[in-house]
Each structure stands twice: as structure tokens, then as C-alpha cells.
Amino acid sequence: MINKTVADAKVAVADVFSDSVLMLGGFGLSGIPENCIQALLEKDLSGLTCISNNAGVDDFGIGLMLKKKMVKKMISSYVGENAEFERQLLSGELEVELIPQGTLAERVRAGGAGIPAFFTPAGVGTEVADGKEIREFEGKLYLLERWLKADFAFVKAWKGDTAGNLIFKGTARNFNPMMAAAGRITIAEVEELVPAGELDPNAIHTPGIYVQRIFQGKDYEKRIEQRTVSKR
């Protein structure tokens, strides 16, 4: 089986270039590629377009890339609480494209699956529909939406093997599998890297064909945004 292992995050992101289009997995701060983001921060990059459901928080995740002014444009469904984000947006330094979450997921899925466009009901009658083709099917209105692809996709999995096969954990799966398929170069960081053949072929979430580079990450912080507990 093809071995896609690279030494670490630094090696994995070595050829990421300014003005490129990136996808970053995760929902909130859950399942984000922490190691790759750190390695990107250490490079001299600017003008990036980042496709990610959220934009991190002021001091973690994509928020750190915003602070370093590496990002020209965010494509997200919810940009949450992030003061620096807000400042850059209001000052015009940052461009933001907001997309319904399901449309975002499906556009990324379409990018990986070779579907250049599809119809979805989300956004009909709203400003999301502005300039888009609207068509009726079986009595209901739908918008035509286009695929999304990226120069580099960064995903974070729980376990992976040297062939690039990935298994995610809990709700940290979220956008990661679709982004893995939609990146021209997909870089996977995993908590545990095992030799090809050690993962159950029937339980793999992302087939290795979508992954060009894989490495075992370290020092995962896995920050929690809303720590909510019950007493019993």
C-alpha cells in the first residue's frame, strides 16, 4: 500500500503558498487541524482564502491566522465570537462569504465528488439566493449552488494509517471527510498513526485515496468552547 507518511506538520505544509485556497476541517474548535494551523502560523503567508465552517476564536484555531493577517477571505457558515475577526471585517481588511451550513457541506462534498453544481432549497427567498439560478422541481423552489475545491485541505482524524485511511471520533468528524476529498493536496493529522492494515477496512470513514500526506500530530489542546455539565 502507498505510504503517505511525512515527518511532521512543518514538512506537511512546506509547499503551502500565499493566495492559495485552503479548507480546514472542524466544527467550532472540535476536530480542527491544530498542528497544521500552528505550522501555517510559522510560515510567511498572506492572501489566503480559508473555507471552514467557523473561524476559530480570538486566541485559538483560525482566529490565530486572522490575527497574523494571513487570511484575505473566510468562507464559513458561522463566524461566532471573535473580536479580531469583527474588527477586520468592519475595517474592510477581511472579506467574508457566509453560506448555509448544509450548503457548505454539500458544496464541499460536490467538489470532492466531481459534481460541479446541484440544486438545494436552502436560502430560497433570502439574500443567499441573490444572483443565483432558481428552479422549481415538483412544486418546490431550489437554488443552483456550485462545488467548492481547495489547493490544500487540512483535516484532523483520531486514527489514521500510512495509506491515508482515516477514522474520526465523536462529533469531531463533521466537515473533515468532505474536505479531505475536496483538496488537491490533502494533509491529514492524526492522534494515532498505525501501519496500513491495522484499521478495520469496514470502519474507515475517509478512504486513503483522498489523502496525500499524513502525520501523527502532538500536544492536542482540544479546547472546549461551552463546557456544560450536569450534576448527576
Binding site: S77, Q101, Q226
Partner: protein, 219 residues
């Protein structure tokens, strides 16, 4: 006038056995607390889980297990995990039976506005537009009026729309109302101690009142 928990409690009465349900952030999340134990329902979290359990005890917290509001959660017995495309395939494909969410405004034709206030920082629509465009049955939990006393049940929404002709029922702090297919808020129930007159005054859109309007009952 109902408090938030009472609104949630009233909405819980609409839940039917065997339903898959998506609960929005805020009051809708509270609905889970009032679903009777004898009903078997499954709560969906659109970030990739069917079968939301209670919040975890301190020792069970897992950063890899959160709901769409980014709160730490647990999984119910028989739950299943999936990716975001599959999650919205479920929603868009009409497999989720009931969606409960908050709103800033609802129009008498069932349009909803709940994602954007012009001039304020826009945070994004998240999954709201997918949910309202797809769900067969949408119940809105909201305050009848804004803090400065303006009705939020309008002839036409003034804020940017999240979805059109989608809301089926509204539970506010003073009333339960259905959206009529031909347009109009049909008054179904009054909050305890609230008169039909008061609801009329506080509803800017077309209110339809037929016969005696009962008071809500809480067990």
C-alpha cells in the same frame, strides 16, 4: 406570561412518539427537559449525531463530543455519528420530523427572520437556512414582542429572511398560534391570565380568532 421554561414545556406537548427532532439554540434546547419519558424520540445535532444524551458529568466531558451550540454532551443509547454532509442530507431529505427554533420575526405567511440584524455584526446563518427550507414541521419559540414592545408577529418580516413559508406553529410568552395555509396567525391557546384582547393588541400581522380560545394547561 410564560417564562422560557414554560414556553419549552408547552412546545414539548407537540412532540410525538417516534419523532426525530432538531432543537435550535436557546429556548428550543430547553424543550428536551420536558419531553415525557414515555415518548421514544431521537434528538439530532446537526454537527453529526443522532441521539443526544444529557449533559455530561464532570468526569465524562469529551471535547470530541459537542452539540451544534458547541456545548459538551453525551450520546444516548443507540445513537449514531456521521459527517456534516450526511447530517444535512437527513435534514434536506425531510427525514427529520420536527424542527424547533427561535426567531426574531415571523410573518403571517410563515416567513421567518432569525439570522441577521442590519447594522449589527453578522455571525452567520449556520444551519438555520437549511433547516427552515427543508423541515416539514417547524415550530418557533419566541417572545411575542421585542423589549421595546413591538410585535414580532408581522404581516411581513422587516429583517432579512431566513426562509419563506415554512413556520407551522409559534409558541410565545402569551400565545400558541398556527400559521394558516392561506396566511394569518390562528390563535390556538392563551397563556394563563392573558386575554384575547391583549394578544390582538400585540400581534401586528393578521390574527384569526375563532370561537372560545382556551388557556394553556400545564401538568
Amino acid at each position: 406570561m410564560l417564562n422560557k421554561d414554560q414556553i419549552a414545556q408547552r412546545i414539548a406537548k407537540e412532540v410525538q412518539n417516534g419523532q426525530y427532532i432538531n432543537l435550535g439554540i436557546g429556548i428550543p434546547t430547553l424543550v428536551a427537559n420536558y419531553i415525557p419519558d414515555n415518548l421514544e424520540v431521537v434528538l439530532q445535532s446537526e454537527n453529526g449525531l443522532l441521539g443526544i444524551g444529557p449533559f455530561p458529568t464532570e468526569d465524562k466531558i469529551d471535547p470530541d463530543l459537542i452539540n451544534a451550540g458547541k456545548q459538551t454532551i453525551t450520546m444516548a443509547k443507540g445513537s449514531v455519528l456521521f459527517n456534516s454532509a450526511e447530517s444535512f442530507a437527513m435534514i434536506r431529505g425531510g427525514h427529520v420530523h420536527l424542527t424547533i427554533l427561535g426567531a426574531m420575526e415571523v410573518s403571517e405567511t410563515g416567513d421567518i427572520a432569525n439570522w441577521k440584524i442590519p447594522g449589527k455584526m453578522v455571525k452567520g446563518m449556520g444551519g438555520a437556512m437549511d433547516l427552515v427550507a427543508s423541515a416539514e414541521n417547524i415550530i418557533v419559540a419566541m417572545q411575542h414582542c421585542s423589549r421595546d414592545g413591538k410585535s414580532k408577529l408581522l404581516q411581513k418580516c422587516s429583517l432579512p429572511i431566513t426562509g419563506i413559508r415554512c413556520v407551522k406553529k409559534i409558541v410565545t410568552d402569551i400565545a400558541v398560534l398556527d400559521i394558516l395555509p392561506e396566511g394569518g396567525f390562528k390563535l390556538i391557546e392563551r397563556a394563563p391570565g392573558v386575554s384575547v384582547e391583549e394578544i390582538k393588541e400585540k400581534t401586528a400581522g393578521k390574527l384569526v380568532v375563532e370561537g372560545e380560545i382556551p388557556e394553556m394547561k400545564f401538568d
